[in-house]
Amino acid sequence: MNNILEVNNVVKKYGDYTALNNVSLAVPSGSIYGLLGPNGAGKTTLIRIINQITMPDSGKVLLDGKVLNPNHIQYIGYLPEERGLYKTMKVGEQCLYLAQLKGLSHQEAKKQLQFWFEKFGIQEWWNKKIQELSKGMAQKIQFVVTVLHQPKLLILDEPFSGFDPVNANLIKDEIIELNKKGTSIIFSTHRMESVEEMCNHIALIHKSNKLIEGKLNDVKQQYRSNTFQIGILTNNIEGLMYQLTQKFEVNPTHFKSLNEDIKLEINVGNHSSNELLSILTNFGQVTHFVEKIPSVNDIFIQTVSQ
C-alpha cells in the first residue's frame, strides 16, 4: 500500500524547546488517519510543517512520494483549529479569493463553489458578510473553503468544534463521502468517540514523541488484555467464585443489564475463552459475555499517563 504522506525523522525546535523530536509517520492513501495527543504534544507543529507553514529543522516530509514543495499546496486542504474568516468581506468574494490562493482559476472556483453552496443549500449567503452569519454558518463556509480545491489530502484540526450536533453530523457525512471518493484524511481531535467511529489508522504523539502508530484494529489488538465481562444468573455464587478464582483473575464490575445477574470482569490470561464459558454454563444461565476491547480513550489515557 502506498502512502499519501510520509514524515521522516522530523525535528523542530523553538529555542530550547523541542516541539517535535525525531517524529516519523506514514499516512496510507485513502485512510482516515487520527492524529492524537494531549494539548501541547506537538500535533499543531507537525500539521504546520506538513502545510509548509513552518519548516522542520531536520527530517523530510514526502507527499505522494515527493519531497514537499510549494506546488503541493494545491493538493492539501487544511482546516486549522484556530480558524476564522474576514468578517467584513462578502461570503462569495471571500470563498473565491481563498480558492484562487489555493491555485484554482476564477471560473473553476466559481463552479466548485456553486456545487457546494447548492449542496448545503446556502446560495443566499453569497452576498452576505461573514459578520452577519452565525458561528455555525461561518464554520460551514470554512469547511467548503477547505475542500473546494478537491485536495488529495485533507487535514482537519478539531473539525467539529463550533457545530451543533445536526451540522456536525452533516460535516461528518461529507468527510466520509470525500474519503470514499479517495481523499486521504488526517484528523486531529480530542473527541475520542469520533476517532473510534471514523478513523482506521491512528498515531499518538505525546511530549514531542510519537508513541503509537498503526491500524486502529492492530493497535487495539496490542492493547487487548484478554478480559471478558460476563453476567450470569446463578444460585451457587460461592461455588462459581471458587471455580473461577482457581484459574482466572476475577473482579466485580458494572454494566447496564435488565437482569438481576452477577456481573464480573474476568481476565482469562493464557486460557481460552471457551474454558471460561464452560465453567459458567455449569452454574446457571449466562446473560452477558463480551470481550472487553480497549477503547481509543483507554489507550490514550493509558499511554499518556504512563
Binding site: G15, I53, T54, R83
Partner: protein
Amino acid sequence: MNKLFLILKREFIAKVRNKSFIVMTFLSPMLFVGIAVLVGYLSSMNKDKATEIAIHDEGGYVKSTFKNNKDYHYTDISAMPFDIAKDSASKNYEGLLYIPKVDSIQSLKDKVEYISENSASINFIGQVEEKVDSVLTSDRLKNLGLDEQMIVGAKVNSNLKLSKFSGGESLKGLNEIKIAIGGFMGYLIMMFIVIYGNFVMRSVIEEKTNRIIEIIISSVKPFQLMMGKIIGNSLAGILQFLIWIIVGLLLAFVAQTFFGLQLSSNASMSPEMMQAAEQSAGMLKLQSYITEIVNLPLGLMLFCFVIYFIGGYFLYSSLYAAIGAAVDSETDSQQFLLPIIMPLILGVYIGFFTVINDPHGTVATVFSIIPLTSPIVMLMRIPFLEPQHYWQLILSIVLLFGSFIFVVWFAAKIYRVGILMYGKKPTWKELFKWMKY
C-alpha cells in the same frame, strides 16, 4: 507572483471599499476647505466692524491723510477742547489720536500721542507712524526747496544679481521655493508613512484576530502576504492622495470664485498702492519664480521623490507589518511604534531647521545619508544639491535600498513567527529570538 497580485488586489479593494476610507477621502478636503472658508468668513466679518478712532488735530497737520477704510474709522473731534475730547473719546471711541498744536511742524516728530485703554496693534502703530513720517518728510522737502515729484521720479530700484563660483546664475527667492518644494515632498512622505504604515499594521492585526491567518499562510508564503499588504495599501493611499489633490484644488477654486476670498491682503498698503505694486513687482516676481522653477532640477527631483517614496515607505511599512504580527491588538503596539516614529519626526525637524539654514552642513548631510531619515532629509536637500554632492545622493539611495532589503527580510522573519503567536505581548528580546526560529 500571481498570488501576490491576488493578495494585493484584495487588500486594495478591502481598503478602498471601507466606509471610513470613503468618508476620509471625500470629507477631509471638504473639511479642510470648509475650515478655510469659515476662517476667511469670520475674519472678514471681523473687519466689517471698523475700529472707531477719534482724532484731535487742532493744527490740522495730518488729519486729512487719515481716511476711513474698512479696518479703521476716523472721526475728527478737533473742535472740542482737548480735555472734553479726551473724556468723550474714552467713552465713545476705541482710542484718541492726539496731535498737539506746535510752532514748527517738524517738532511733531515725537509729540504725536495715541491714547487708548487697549494697547494698539502693531499694524495700526505702523500706519500712523508712516503717515506722520510722510507729512513731515514732504514738509521738509518743501522747506529745502525740492520738488517731491522729481524726487520720486529720480528714485532707483536696484536689483542685486546673485551668481555662483561655478559660473551658473542663481536667483533671489530661489531658496524659498526650494524649501517649500523640498519641505512639502519630505512632509508628504512622512505623512504617508505614518498613515499607511498604520493601515498595514491594522490589516495584519485584523487577520490575526480574525484567525484567518493560518488558512491564508497555508496557501501563500508569509512574505508574499506581507508584500501584498504593503503594496495594496500603498496603492490605496496613492489613490486617496490623488483624490485629495483633485478635490482640494476644485473646492479651493470654487471657494475662491464664489466667496471672493482674498487669501493674502496687505493691510499696510492702500488698495491702489497694492494694486500698483502687485502689478509691477508681482509680475516681475512671478516671472522670476517661473524661471527659477524651470531652472530647478525637476527631473531629478521627481525621480528622487519616487525613489525615496518607495524606499522609505517599504522600509517603514515592513516594520509596521512586523509590529502588527508581534502584537494581538493595536493597544499593545504603542511600545514598539515609538522607535519607528522617532526617526520620522527627527527627519522632519532636521529638514525644517537644519537644511533650511545650511543645506550642506554636517548634520544635514549625515541625516540625509542615514536610511531611516534619508527619505525626508535628502528630499528636502535635493533642490539645493550641486554636482559635487551627487555622491551623497547615490550613497544615500544605495544605503536606503540596502537597508530596505535587510529590514524587509528581518520584518518578514518576525512576521512569519508573530502571526501564529497568540497570547502574551512579546518583549524585544523575544522578537530577536524569533529570528532564529
